[in-house]
């Protein structure tokens, strides 16, 4: 589902964020991506959603070589991928419902369909009764769950998460990870960047480790 073939990324300043990374992630997998700060985890995720292009090598997502996706193809590509950000990236002048509905409105769904799916997603993350709340009135964990609901509401094939438990307490982190496992069980490919090694090693999924832009373990299942 996700395949990197000797991908290197050099940022404009000449810094090598990724060096010759090759990996394959199958459709039904949940994979953790770990490494020290600056190892290139975020860069790898950003490449999958075309926020960044490789300097060398190629990325293939769901059979689609991303090198062949032009600027006009980017929105359509991103609609197939759900993303959870560490800092949530919610729209703070809209309520919870509106935030979660965003991908569906963009994809052009009928409004009845939007209402139904948004409530299903909010129900899944346990925030159904908060749909009218504004994000600032929610705790960090709740905001993160709004972000997750937004990521999955469009039924993407791939779910990416960059430090989804970054500043949550252990119990909450475990809860969020469990949500991701549930999505994975219904067939979503999940890739989570995290340096909470204690948490992820307990969960018994494949762990890919980056060190200074090089992949040091976990390249294949």
């Amino acid at each position: 589902m996700i395949s990197f073939d000797r991908v290197s990324k050099r940022y404009a300043e000449g810094h090598d964020a990724l060096r010759e990374v090759s990996l394959d992630i199958a459709r039904d997998e949940l994979v953790f991506l770990t490494g020290h700060s600056g190892a290139g985890k975020s860069t790898l995720l950003r490449m999958i959603m075309l926020m960044e292009r490789p300097t060398r090598g190629q990325v293939v997502i769901d059979g689609q070589n991303l090198g062949a996706v032009g600027p006009r193809g980017i929105p359509r590509h991103r609609r197939n991928i759900g993303v959870v950000f560490q800092n949530h990236r919610l729209l703070y002048d809209r309520n919870v419902f509106d935030n979660v509905a965003l991908p569906l409105v963009i994809a052009g769904h009928d409004h009845r369909e939007v209402g139904r799916r948004v409530r299903a997603a909010l129900d899944k993350v346990g925030l159904l009764e908060r749909e009218r709340a504004m994000p600032v009135t929610l705790s960090g964990g709740e905001q993160q769950r709004v972000g997750i609901a937004r990521a999955v509401v469009g039924k993407p094939r791939i779910l990416l998460a960059d430090e989804p438990t970054g500043n949550l307490d252990p119990a909450l982190s475990a809860e969020i990870m469990q949500l991701f496992e549930e999505f994975n069980q219904v067939g979503v490919t999940v890739l989570i960047a995290s340096h909470d090694l204690g948490l992820i090693s307990r969960l018994r999924h494949r762990i890919i480790t980056l060190r200074q832009g090089r992949l040091v373990s976990g390249s294949a299942a």
Partner: protein
């Protein structure tokens, strides 16, 4: 405020769960697209109205910029209406052939007086002309040393009072064809001068309009740029979750449209107000000259045209801003 850019609110309005069908066919997408247009339009309108003071300033600036050339144009229209309907001050001087006798000349004058398209004709014999010339020109000595009177008989014809310029010109040509007439001269140089000035005026209006329209585009572009800037984070998020450029662009284009339409409306009101302000004194003046002349305004069509022009400029300005600044906002 009940609508937002993304138009998600309205989706909340309908709560019939389970009653929906989950496929997104072409029809559904078309409806969703239409709905997004509606909601973008409504949301942009709300945003414009949410800041009444700054929006009114924008409208006023655009309004003034559009009102200036269109007001000038209305003024020129009135002048040309006035000059076309002028109680024709033109007169046609008919210089007769040397061999035409006084009797023939008088008969001609009588014949011309009888014409419907001639209001007045006057015979000036060559002797009278010489006398007049002598007393007016100061060449008395030179003239008295001449043995022959060099001047021809003259019949002065005033065309009918309501005759248009073209009609007068045709009359002149017709009179020149009379066998007794050597030459027919139309004295309307001042009218031609007016026409030339009007032409100049029209060109000036176009030049002013061009500059001001450029100004309007820049103002709108800048206003939209600020709107884009203030919603940068929102744009980034929309792009991250797969919003196309068209989707991101739409609300800003509507914002431009509303600013432009409002500006056009202001312009139409400004022109109408200044005409209304002038109407009274023009009517007084016209009465003094026993004229039926009334100021002609923009009319409904003119006003509509201004509003449409404003709307188009709004769209164009927004398009300029959007194409320059939206592409630069990429998720990081």
């Amino acid at each position: 405020m009940s609508f937002r850019l993304l138009g998600v609110r309205a989706a909340q309005g309908v709560r019939r769960e389970g009653a929906s069908h989950s496929r997104t066919g072409l029809r559904d997408r078309y409806h969703a697209w239409l709905q997004h247009h509606r909601l973008s339009a409504a949301d942009s309108m709300h945003r414009v109205l949410d800041n009444p003071v700054s929006s009114a300033m924008t409208w006023l600036v655009i309004g003034i910029a559009l009102a200036l050339p269109s007001g000038l144009n209305v003024a020129l229209d009135n002048v040309s209406q006035l000059s076309a309907s002028w109680d024709s001050p033109a007169q046609i001087s008919l210089f007769l052939h040397d061999e035409v006798s006084d009797e023939r000349a008088l008969a001609l004058q009588a014949e011309l007086s009888a014409r419907a398209d001639v209001s007045l004709s006057r015979f000036v014999s060559r002797e009278e002309a010489l006398e007049e010339f002598r007393s007016l020109s100061g060449f008395a000595d030179v003239l008295s040393s001449l043995q022959d009177n060099p001047l021809p008989h003259l019949v002065v014809v005033a065309p009918a009072a309501d005759a248009q310029q073209a009609v007068v010109a045709a009359l002149r040509a017709e009179l020149e064809a009379y066998p007794d007439v050597a030459q027919a001269v139309l004295d309307m140089e001042w009218l031609q001068r007016l026409d030339t000035m009007m032409l100049l005026g029209r060109r000036l209006v176009w030049a002013v309009a061009g500059l001001l329209i450029l100004g309007v585009l820049l103002i709108l572009g800048n206003t939209i740029r600020l709107a884009i800037e203030s919603r940068r984070e929102e744009i980034v998020i929309v792009k991250l979750v797969g919003g196309s450029n068209a989707f991101v662009r739409r609300p800003f284009l509507y914002t431009g449209l509303w600013y432009g339409v409002g500006g056009g409306l202001f312009a139409a009101l400004l022109v109408a107000a200044s005409l209304w302000f002038l109407q009274g004194s023009v009517a007084d003046l016209a009465r003094l000259y026993h004229s039926e002349f009334r100021l002609r305004g923009l009319g409904v069509m003119g006003g509509l045209n201004l509003i449409i022009l404003g709307g188009l400029l709004g769209l164009a300005g927004a398009w300029l801003a959007v194409s320059r600044h939206l592409a630069a906002i990429q998720p990081r």
